[in-house]
């Protein structure tokens, strides 16, 4: 009973954390863009413009909810909800901090310790395609439809390479559970004792990381893969016809997905909550807190990388995007998998 209460509180906190980080990512994105383009960025609402996300959110609520007369009303309402729901669901299997034992109860800072963690994430990702697809189709707008089809076709293409690049990580740790993958990365790098807590997969799988990162960008529909919303061709993309909080949901879902992808990159390749010097800390409370902070720093850094890439690289052309996904990333990921398997078997 206590455990259920704890997990409910954890679920609510993680959910809120996702929302707050997504909100402030919008602010951060504008600040990063401003910095890169030598502008100031939002600075009117509150000190340094820190209240800007709240003002934007509040504005969204009071905007008119518009449904075009040709649109399919039910799906038009359902699609943004689905996009948001799937974005919120992926956080369930991520281990956020080291376990904490109080009395005889072990508190796991992971909403659900599924033994099929990665498959769960891939499954939810596949469902999230529907939010965009249904949204674009239901608006009954030619631009939205084109954008939705482009987006879904891009997302399914990159899912293949993503799945293949995760397999190498599964081979390294021998498990599909994110908890085991994190635990496996807590040792010392290459067996050197002062590199304790740095046994991160990135040092063994740099190519896998690059493939995964590229696919994560494509899965989140972020630049340079934001074919779904290239303004010059498709107006606003699949959310052209959406307004009010429905539009807000699509934008929000994108930022939550970005946050979760960054966290997953940190967990798979950068040791999750492990950090160097971890074994020196004896206070379990402090260890849990610091572990969480370490994971957050890594995740926020990757959110910054996502933005950095967006404001640096121009958009791909659609044929280039499909070429990269199918003809380059899939063979690369496949080769990487086979080489990893061979090396691990020879070393055994």
């Amino acid at each position: 009973m206590e455990l259920i209460a704890f997990k409910s509180i954890l679920a609510i906190s993680i959910f809120t954390l996702g929302l707050v980080i997504a909100m402030y990512s919008t602010y951060f994105e504008r600040k990063v863009a401003a910095f890169m383009q030598d502008r100031i960025g939002p600075n009117r609402a509150g000190p340094f413009g820190l209240l800007q996300p709240l003002a934007d959110g509040g504005k969204m609520f009071f905007k008119e909810e518009f449904i075009p007369k040709e649109a399919n009303t039910f799906l038009f309402t359902f699609a943004p909800g689905l996009a948001m729901l799937t974005a919120c669901m992926t956080s369930a299997v991520i281990p956020w901090a080291p376990d904490l034992t109080i009395g005889n109860l072990v508190y796991k800072f992971q909403i659900a310790d599924l033994n099929i963690g990665i498959l769960y994430i891939l499954a939810i990702l596949s469902v999230s395609v529907y939010g965009i697809m249904l949204g674009g189709w239901a608006s009954n707008n030619k631009y939205s439809l084109l954008s939705a089809i482009r987006a879904s076709s891009q997302m399914i293409s990159y899912e293949l390479a993503m799945g293949l690049s995760i397999i190498t990580i599964v081979m390294m740790s021998g498990s599909v559970s994110l908890r085991d993958i994190t635990a496996q990365q807590s040792g010392s790098l290459f067996g050197i004792s002062f590199l304790q807590g740095l046994n991160w997969n990135i040092f063994y799988q740099p190519l896998g990381f690059l493939i995964f990162m590229t696919c994560a960008l494509a899965e989140c529909n972020r630049a340079p893969f934001d074919m779904a919303e290239c303004e010059s061709e498709l107006i606003g993309g699949y959310h052209t016809e959406f307004s009010s909080m429905k539009l807000g949901f699509f934008l929000f879902a994108e930022y939550i997905n970005m946050f979760i992808s960054s966290t997953i990159i940190s967990v798979l390749f950068f040791g999750g909550y492990n950090f160097p010097g971890m074994h020196l800390i004896s206070n379990p409370m402090l260890l849990t807190a610091l572990g969480f902070v370490a994971l957050m720093i890594k995740a926020l850094f990757f959110i910054f990388v996502f933005m950095w890439i967006r404001w640096t690289l121009p958009r791909f052309r659609y044929d280039q995007l499909m070429q990269l996904g199918w003809k380059k990333l899939i063979p690369l990921a496949l080769g990487n998998m086979l080489i990893t398997a061979f090396v691990l078997l020879v070393k055994q």
């Binding site: 997990k7 679920a11 609510i12 959910f15 609520f61 009071f62 905007k63 008119e64 075009p68 007369k69 040709e70 943004p80 909800g81 948001m84 729901l85 919120c88 669901m89 956080s91 369930a92 909403i111 659900a112 599924l114 990665i118 498959l119 009954n140 707008n141 030619k142 631009y143 939205s144 439809l145 089809i149 879904s152 076709s153 293409s157 293949l160 799945g163 397999i167 190498t168 599964v170 081979m171 498990s175 107006i235 016809e241 009010s244 909080m245 429905k246 659609y318 044929d319 499909m322 070429q323 199918w326 003809k327 899939i330 496949l334 998998m337 086979l338 398997a341 691990l344 078997l345 055994q348």
Partner: protein, 125 residues
Amino acid sequence: MEYLYILILAAISLGFVMLTIFGSNLLGPKKSTKHKDENFECGVESDGDARQPISVKYFIVAILFVLFDVEVIFFYPYAVIFKEMGMQGFVAVLLFVAVFLVGFYYIIKKGILDWNYTSVELKKP
């Protein structure tokens, strides 16, 4: 038991989504006019709707995705136990990958992944 917690998270998210959708529906103004309700089409009069056939390429990509994703999923159980299976298992997987690559080579040669229109035209039998 662990799936119960996923249901809890789903319930929280669903509650939030429903509340927000209905809430913003109540809060905003409502005003509809004939031209406003039309679909947006770059400011020009909208012509027909979007229920039209689209390029078959996307459909082929979707089918290929289903095929290849099933093959990718087959690698997961192998990746978990490949150390126990040793070299023998590795050779078996090499064969599987070879079959995978034959199919892959076939679709590339067919020009399915060429999105450049002219090259598709040229490769027509």
